[in-house]
């Protein structure tokens, strides 16, 4: 059973982030890491490899040349090999173009499970997994706190309004998992050293039979303005008061705002 984990390299959380003058996300010169939510997908895939459910784990990423760093870091955690799809035409690709490229690469890799994390850290949207499933005409099992594969079928444990359900679909599937999978493992030193020797292939759009013109060019949405959020009134503080007095002050504050 073969798993391909799709990962994305993103700017580190908390690093200074900005929009460029032409209102695109400025990714230059910022420390890049594996999208933290993808680490849970990596961890889930490696657990399935550890317990013998999966006999091959491949990482797939679409991005600039630098994204190979994220793939090496993933390989250091475990897994067998990696593929980077990179092409100048893909700079600034939107979710649809990303999904199109990943779908084509996944069709070529033909895994039983295409596994992804929840949403990218730097541009919320999370439409890529579902779009990929629709494009490939493959079932989608999303928002799983756990993924299990057996007997030609995959299932995810998904929170319901009150408890949880196991949702199942026949292989092959696209699946996404949440952080409830559990803490991702650290890469060991031997893992880091082995990662350098694991195969990492680079594919271009041509290798996927995709037309650069179709994918690049104007995005379907245009940002017309980017501004800081509304200035907030400075934080009021209550400290060094006995609890009863503090409570009275809080209640006054709430009452003044008609909250009680």
């Amino acid at each position: 059973m073969k798993i391909v984990v799709c990962i994305k390299q993103v700017p580190a959380t908390g690093a200074d982030k900005r929009y460029t003058d032409d209102l695109r996300l400025d990714r230059a010169g910022v420390e890049a890491i594996i999208n933290p939510l993808d680490e849970y997908a990596i961890e889930q895939a490696l657990r399935l490899a550890d317990d013998g459910s999966a006999d091959a784990v491949t990482y797939l990423s679409m991005g600039p040349e630098q994204a190979s760093e994220a793939l090496r870091r993933a390989l250091a955690m475990g897994g067998d090999d990696a593929v980077l799809v990179t092409d100048p035409a893909l700079a600034g690709a939107d979710e649809w173009a990303t999904a199109k490229v990943l779908a084509a690469a996944l069709d070529k890799l033909a895994p039983d499970v295409a596994l992804m994390g929840m949403a990218s850290d730097d541009a919320r949207g999370s439409l890529v997994p579902g779009a990929v499933a629709a494009m490939r005409d493959v079932p989608l099992l999303s928002y799983g706190s756990e993924l299990a594969v057996a007997g030609g079928e995959a299932r995810v444990r998904r929170l319901s309004a009150t408890g949880f359900d196991w949702i199942a679909a026949p292989l092959p599937v696209v699946a996404t998992v949440t952080d409830q999978v559990g803490e991702p493992r650290y890469a060991s030193l031997k893992g880091i050293m082995a990662a350098k020797r694991k195969p990492l292939e680079t594919w271009s759009l041509g290798d996927l039979g995709l037309d650069a013109g179709e994918l690049s060019g104007a995005a379907l949405t245009t940002v017309t303005d980017a501004r800081p959020p509304e200035a907030k009134a400075p934080t009021e503080r209550i400290e060094n008061l006995p609890p009863a007095e503090a409570a009275a002050k809080i209640a006054d504050w709430l009452a003044a705002r008609k909250l009680i």
Binding site: R124, A133, W166, A226, P229
Partner: protein, 330 residues
């Protein structure tokens, strides 16, 4: 292309989800700006009988995709067919797991513009305009479909962006969705169902939330928070640390990987305010934080920051609120 605004209306257990009512109101608002109608895309158990009732919240028409209790994603095929036929200006979807899945299927199949999750949407001179908080809330971007982009635009909408309109009298015209091409997305099914015994409040619907974090220290520590929530008529939520520790169910986790909430009042007790939690509640109208660490990050974006022991302050506050409400009642 028409000026209609479509919206996803999820039904479960015979009733519309709150998101359905919010989006009905929102779609009606946008439709009045665009000169079109608000049209529901109803699915789930109770959709067939309940779709007409969406008229009371602003829907002029309703298309029923299906009435069975099955995973939302399995309705993608009929959704795509209905959206293709409708040729509308926009489709509103809730920024929930189900809403995102269906929105993704639309974008993947139809290659249309996608926005969201948005905190505001409007139609200006016939063009959709959205507002979104990006880069973890540090930048607000305004966006619209590019010139020449195909319709409809798919818009993910955060909970509490629209408030359901009360007391409308209309009834929506109900029709069936067109026949759908077979889609692999329909091949998911519930293999096992494990409902919990107690009903868990949907935090996205709460107007007051009292949330607890690592500082609460344990399951019992949530007792005083529940009392305060009850006194305020609100719900209890938590940070991921509390959920991971098993002190409360995951359905109550607020944050990047949990629920995104927009209550009128959020009180965070024993929560440090790390960014992963912050992105789940920073759009609350009023934020009160109680923490014994005077340097806790939450103190930087709270409206009111109370430094002290939550186990003393929270009960005292509950007492004070009950006292004041008691006086009002008398």
């Amino acid at each position: 292309m028409s000026n209609d605004i479509l919206f996803l209306a999820e039904f479960a257990g015979g009733n519309p989800a709150r998101s359905a009512l919010e989006l009905a109101t929102g779609a009606a608002e946008l439709a009045s700006q665009s000169g079109g109608s608000a049209v529901a895309l109803a699915y789930g158990s109770g959709a067939a009988s309940g779709a007409a009732g969406l008229g009371a919240h602003g829907a002029a028409r309703a298309i029923v995709l299906g009435d069975e209790d099955r995973p939302a994603i399995t309705y993608a095929g009929s959704l795509v067919a209905a959206v293709r036929e409708a040729q509308a200006l926009a489709v509103l979807a809730p920024a929930t797991p189900n809403g995102r899945d269906l929105a993704a299927a639309l974008v993947g199949t139809l290659h249309v513009p996608a926005f969201g999750p948005v905190r505001a949407a409007r139609v200006v001179d016939g063009v959709l305009e959205t507002e979104q908080a990006t880069l973890q809330g540090s930048v607000i971007t305004t966006a619209r479909p590019s010139d020449g982009a195909p319709a409809p635009s798919v818009v993910l909408v955060l909970a509490n962006t629209f408030t359901p309109a009360e007391g409308g009298a209309g009834s929506a015209d109900v029709s069936q969705a067109p026949a759908a091409a077979g889609s692999a997305l329909s091949r998911a099914s519930v293999a096992e169902s494990h409902p919990a015994e107690a009903k868990v409040v949907n935090l996205e619907e709460a107007t007051v939330i009292v949330a607890g974090g690592r500082g609460v220290g344990g399951e019992e520590g949530f007792g005083p928070l529940r009392d305060l929530a009850a006194a305020l008529g609100g719900a209890v939520g938590a940070s991921r640390a509390a959920a991971d520790a098993g002190w409360i169910p995951y359905q109550l986790q607020i944050g990047q990987t949990g629920k995104v909430v927009k209550p009128a009042l959020y009180i965070g007790a024993g929560i440090s305010g790390a960014i992963q939690h912050r992105v789940g509640m920073q759009t609350a109208e009023h934020v009160v934080a109680i923490n014994r660490d005077p340097d806790a990050p939450i103190g930087e974006f709270a409206d009111l920051f109370v430094v002290g022991d939550l186990f003393q302050i929270v009960p005292a506050l509950t007492e004070e609120i009950r006292r004041r409400k008691g006086h009002e009642g008398a």
